[in-house]
């Protein structure tokens, strides 16, 4: 650890505002990116399964009904 205490760590030798601004935006972007990927993945899967549910035997799709 390069810092003596937490206060020094937060202050970053007077450059705390800049350092923490850069890191917080980077981390926010990382979280947004990864959760966005996961959300898209889930949405696509739900969408596909909804389509599939209409076609499984037993639950005949209205369009396929005689």
């Amino acid at each position: 650890m390069m810092f003596e205490d937490w206060q020094a760590f937060i202050a970053m030798g007077g450059h705390g505002l800049y350092v923490w601004m850069a890191y917080s935006v980077a981390v926010a972007l990382l979280i947004a990116n990864l959760t966005g990927l996961d959300r898209e993945r889930r949405r696509t899967r739900r969408h596909l399964q909804a389509q599939l549910g209409n076609r499984t035997p037993g639950g005949l799709d209205a369009s396929e009904a005689p």
Binding site: F3, G14, L30, L37, L52, R55
Partner: protein, 250 residues
């Protein structure tokens, strides 16, 4: 498997989809682990720069973002060639789905650069060689996005964007050279990023970790976006239905 076979299979969405399944999670987890390690290391354990003090720690998020910004554009250019010459289906998906990620990384590089510039250069923005070429890169991404939005036909939009990406990649070296020429002419070397050539390992090791983490994030994005796009593109294909059925009833 020979290289030629691999090449052909890479062009097949179905093969890619089945292959990439285990990889997407692995890359995402690896990216998070590496980036968290690198950031903590860089924030708390790397020594401060003898000139810039602690503001130097911004390098650990700035450089990986800048590296990705360029790598993503280069990838788009390669995908452009693959689409124009071999009409590879996967290349079109790459072109359609990677522009946003690249633009965000470019924006992050510019933002962290500005935040670093304030304590170091005394100003948020300087038309320095590298900042200018990064800004131009952002415009190139915007151009790709706008062109895709403007063309109604999906196939035509893909090929138009492919052509634009290739032209952009050819131009990037000239752009970089020209702006460096221009800024050295106007401002001398005062505003060059002062990176000592012999940066000690305790300083560059966390950077290396973060750059590797950034590439893992790139891979995770590429795979996840391609998988989603493949499923959306062929929702009726038999193999997609089989796969979805397997997901429903394990």
């Amino acid at each position: 498997m020979t290289l030629k076979q691999f090449w052909h299979r890479l062009g097949s969405p179905k093969w890619f989809f089945h292959m990439s399944g285990p990889w997407q999670g692995a890359f995402a987890v690896l990216a998070v682990l590496l980036l968290l390690t690198g950031m903590t290391w860089g924030l708390a354990f790397a020594p401060p720069d003898y000139q810039q003090g602690n503001s130097f720690r911004i390098i650990y998020v700035h450089v990986p973002a800048a590296v990705l910004a360029q790598s993503v554009y280069l990838t788009l250019g390669v995908a452009g060639v693959l689409l124009l010459v071999w009409r590879m289906k996967m290349a079109q998906l790459v072109l359609e789905n990677l522009v946003g990620f690249g633009a965000w990384m470019t924006a992050l590089a510019l933002f962290t650069g500005a935040v670093w510039g304030k304590p170091t250069w005394g100003t948020w923005w300087v038309f320095d060689g590298r900042t200018t070429s990064t800004l131009v890169l952002l415009f190139l991404y915007f151009g790709l996005y706008a062109l895709r939005q403007a063309i109604p036909s999906r196939e035509a939009a893909g090929r138009a964007c492919a052509l634009l990406a290739v032209v952009g990649v050819i131009n990037i070296p000239v752009i970089k050279y020209s702006v460096e020429w221009w800024t050295t002419l106007h401002q001398g070397a005062t505003f060059k990023l002062t990176e000592a050539p012999a940066m000690p390992a305790s300083m560059w090791a966390p950077l290396l970790v973060n750059v590797l983490g950034a590439y893992c994030l790139f891979a995770a994005n590429l795979i996840a976006k391609l998988r989603t796009a493949i499923l959306r593109q062929e929702p009726g294909a038999a193999w997609v239905r089989d796969w979805a059925a397997g997901e429903v009833r394990p």
